[in-house]
């Protein structure tokens, strides 16, 4: 095992996690998967990458679960006759999660494997790890739910947070909302949970709607993308690609934990999604890239749902392991494997790992509407989940933005020298990328990307985009200490012509020097801004409250007063994202030459009364 290598976390006791013959969660899926790994030449029985794992201890389980619940599981695990009242109280009274003998040991083996995988990554024994038996995302602190007894994901994340104080990005690709993991860290800003799943409208657990965004300090750190029933690969992948990279950039995690439930496959009996293994492979690839971009490669991958036991699960997770192990995607499913397992299957087992959606998914008449529904939701998620500057830096290829040719200022770049308590600074608007690249960046510039080097790259990128206007403040020594960006707005604002989104940043050491005022005055003194509407969206969870020493109310007041001096007014709105926190604020400056009909379009967008009940 090496730091850039991979680990495979497994324990044969996981195969005893079995709710009975008629139950959809059939351990045969894992047997067939392990067999396929061997046949595909991706993991040998004596492979050194295999981790030895043990059962999770009581203390480890109690990182998430209540002692009384663990007691109850242990008691029921002794076997029949079952205490029916106890079973019912803790979620074992239904056909979803019937109590079975030995269930404590089997469930603890799963948690033990996921913990071992997490620790191997945390301690640097390997870069990536896969715990295919894990991913039981529905289990609650004192209740079994949705086939899940112990929540191995929440335990592993809690362990990472406790031992390292790491920031954990959790990504859940299962067809069902990752409710148990979201609930475990709902108020914790060190764990950002992102779940993409079929809307809870017709599917268990009936949660995961857009409005679920976290509470308290964790507000803005739960992100949900509920896709419509019958969503196909292209629309699903588009949503993942439109949200995940920007989310990782905003959050700058220390490790990514991903759940690779494959029950969104078109053949799966438990959801209404119409995905294929091609979408799952792309999702794993993207997580892998982001782990290398932001986390020095630290990545823990887990299994999850998947109820087409032989047709989907073995292929889907073999593709995940190939990604985790830096091996090329296998193409053809070995024939010996198919021969061996075909007798247990009702349909012919597929010959290729990657499905062709055109072959697997029958045509869906409503598809264009579904694509539109999902795009509408992606736009809302992007708006509240990351700041406008990151939306610009991580554009969303799926969206056709109407372009407004008259929008681009044809003005010359201006400069001005201002004197501040920290010394002189030069302001420069319409800054070209070459200039931004030549300058250095102050270590206190980190509001959007959390790290100055990445912030610098972001600004260079922004400066080079068409239809943006980057104004920078730099010292005579050539160090960037602040900026104001005007970027083309997207999503809900895209239909409003002449509308730019404004973002401002001042290096931590340059606050309280009136540099922000100088920058805003300079930007709004350009003649062309009178032709535009400038909008600043203030979301509490995007603010650097620690760096400013202010609470959210004070920050909102400070921001509103600062912008008010340069013609920005607080706009009343029923925007659900803005209304998500009473400290969020929407500020706008309407230029004096903006035509009335444009203003009216803008105003109507403030009150959209959007349907949130997707």
């Amino acid at each position: 095992m090496t730091a850039d290598g991979a680990c495979f976390a497994w324990n044969p006791a996981i195969l005893d996690y079995n709710f009975g013959a008629q139950h959809p969660l059939d351990p045969m899926r894992l047997r067939a998967f392990l067999d396929l790994l061997e046949d595909a030449g991706l993991l040998a029985p004596d492979d050194p990458r295999r981790l030895t794992t043990t059962l999770a201890t009581r203390d480890e389980l109690e990182l998430v679960h209540r002692p009384a619940y663990v007691d109850a599981v242990q008691k029921l695990s002794e076997g029949p006759p079952y205490d029916e009242a106890l079973a019912e109280l803790y979620g074992f009274g239904s056909d979803d999660n019937p109590a079975f003998e030995g269930m404590h040991q089997a469930a603890a083996a799963i948690v033990g494997a996921s913990l071992a995988a997490a620790r191997a990554v945390a301690e640097g024994a390997c870069g990536h790890a896969f715990s295919p038996g894990g991913g039981l995302h529905h289990a609650l602190p004192e209740r079994a739910s949705g086939f899940c007894i112990y929540n191995d994901i929440a335990v592993a994340i809690a362990d990472l947070v406790h031992r390292r104080e790491w920031k954990v990005l959790y990504v859940d690709f299962d067809a069902h909302h990752g409710d148990g993991v979201q609930a475990a860290f709902y108020d914790d800003p060190r764990v950002l949970t992102f779940s993409i799943h079929e809307t809870g409208r017709h599917l268990f657990p009936g949660t995961g709607f857009l409005r679920e965004m976290g509470v308290g300090a964790g507000l803005g750190y739960a992100v949900n993308m509920p896709v419509s029933a019958f969503t196909t690969d292209d629309s699903w992948v588009e949503a993942v690609e439109a949200i995940l990279p920007g989310l990782a950039a905003r959050f700058q995690p220390d490790i990514i934990v991903s759940q690779h439930g494959c029950d969104g496959h078109a053949w799966d009996p438990l959801s209404h999604l119409r995905l294929t293994t091609s979408a799952f492979a792309r999702a794993a690839q993207l997580v892998h890239e982001l782990a290398h971009d932001y986390c020095d490669g630290r990545w823990l991958a887990l299994g999850g749902g998947g109820y087409d036991v032989l047709g989907v699960v073995p292929r889907a997770w073999t593709l995940v392991w190939a990604e985790v192990a830096h091996q090329p995607r296998p193409e053809t499913v070995p024939e010996p494997w198919r021969d061996r397992w075909q007798v247990f299957a009702t349909d012919p087992l597929p010959a290729r790992f990657l499905d062709d959606p055109a072959e697997v998914v029958p045509p869906i008449p409503r598809d264009p509407e579904i694509v539109d529904e999902n795009r509408g939701k992606v736009a809302m998620v992007r708006e509240f989940a990351f700041p406008g500057l990151l939306r610009t830096a991580f554009p969303w290829p799926g969206q056709d933005r109407p372009r407004w040719p008259e929008q681009r200022p044809a003005a010359q770049s201006r400069t001005e020298r201002v004197d501040t308590a920290k010394g002189p600074a030069f302001l420069r608007d319409l800054a070209p990328p070459s200039l931004v690249a030549r300058l250095d960046i102050d270590p206190g510039m980190r509001a959007f990307m959390r790290r100055p080097d990445r912030e610098h790259k972001l600004l260079i990128n922004i400066a080079g985009l068409p239809d943006t206007n980057l104004t920078i403040a730099h010292t005579p020594e050539g160090v960037i200490v602040g900026h104001v960006s005007m970027t083309e707005a997207e999503g809900r604002w895209a239909p409003v012509p002449r509308l730019y989104e404004v973002a401002i940043e001042i290096a931590a050491g340059w606050r309280r020097t009136h540099l922000a005022s100088h920058l805003l005055r300079f930007v709004t003194s350009a003649d062309y801004v009178e032709d535009y509407i400038l909008v600043a969206l203030g979301y509490t969870w995007h603010w650097d409250l620690d760096g400013s020493g202010l609470n959210a109310f004070q920050y909102r007041t400070m921001l509103s007063r600062l912008f008010a001096k340069y013609g920005f007014d607080v706009q009343p709105t029923d925007d659900p994202e803005i209304m998500g926190s009473e400290t969020n604020v929407l500020l706008a400056r309407v230029g004096s030459r903006v035509p009335y009909d444009v203003y009216e379009t803008f105003h109507n967008r403030l009150f959209r009364r959007a349907a949130w009940a997707f």
């Binding site: 959809p24 009274g93 239904s94 056909d95 979803d96 529905h138 609650l140 739910s145 949705g146 086939f147 069902h176 409710d179 809870g200 409208r201 017709h202 599917l203 268990f204 657990p205 009936g206 949660t207 419509s228 029933a229 019958f230 009996p269 438990l270 209404h272 119409r274 029958p362 869906i364 008449p365 409503r366 509407e369 109310f553 909102r556 007041t557 509103s560």
Partner: protein, 209 residues
């Protein structure tokens, strides 16, 4: 269910002589929007955040140097109240009809609590089973009295926990609906059994509109 089962018991109150700035601070700290105004232990009004904004303006912090103004100048009466023994649906109806967000609750002539929109939303969320993970099912049914025994029989035979079972009054232009929330990730067997009941249609998503 009665008002006393859902009301908020710990209530912050003010008097007509309390300064408005102080009232606003209490609201912010407690994160609520209504303050009962008490005079000699009797509720004389409810002060809302909008009452305060009307008098003090919308500023986040009051400008320094303005004369201090008491609650008396902002509060509006007379106040509508309910008692602890009123059913919650009556409280909801009063709030809906009069377009108000909060009712003081009276017991023995004294303030015992308040019931707000939020309290009623909590009840609605709970009644619809949303506090439990589950699958939402919607049934369109024929004559309720014909299908109800069979539907109940199917639900009882299935071992899926029933979190919520809601049915409203009939409307002349629409089929009767039953809204269910069942605690299962695997509702297919239950849906199949419900489909067997004559006069029951299970609303499910379809690939075609």
């Amino acid at each position: 269910m009665l008002v006393r089962d859902i009301m908020t018991r710990k209530v912050v109150t003010v008097t007509p002589d309390t300064q408005l700035e102080e009232a606003r601070r209490l609201m912010r700290r407690g994160r609520f929007r209504h303050l009962p105004v008490l005079e000699a232990e009797r509720v004389v009004a409810v002060l809302t955040d909008r009452d305060i904004a009307r008098v003090l303006g919308d500023a986040v912090d009051g400008a320094a140097g303005e004369p201090r103004r008491p609650v008396r100048e902002a509060m509006s009466g007379p106040v509508v109240t309910v008692t602890v023994f009123d059913p919650i649906e009556d409280a909801a109806r009063i709030m809906e009809e009069r377009d108000i967000g909060c009712l003081p609750v009276i017991e023995d002539g004294k303030l015992a609590g308040i019931v707000t929109e939020s309290d009623l939303f909590h009840v609605l969320v709970w009644l619809m089973g949303l506090t439990e993970p589950g699958t939402r099912l919607e049934l369109r049914v024929g004559r309720l009295t014909d299908v109800l025994p069979r539907v109940v029989d199917v639900l009882c035979t299935s071992r899926a926990p029933l979190h919520s079972f809601l049915v409203g009054p009939a409307r002349p232009t629409e089929p009767r609906r039953i809204l269910l929330r069942v605690g299962t990730i695997h509702p297919a067997p239950l849906i199949a059994a419900l489909r067997q009941v004559p006069g029951v249609e299970v609303v499910e998503p379809l690939p075609a509109a």
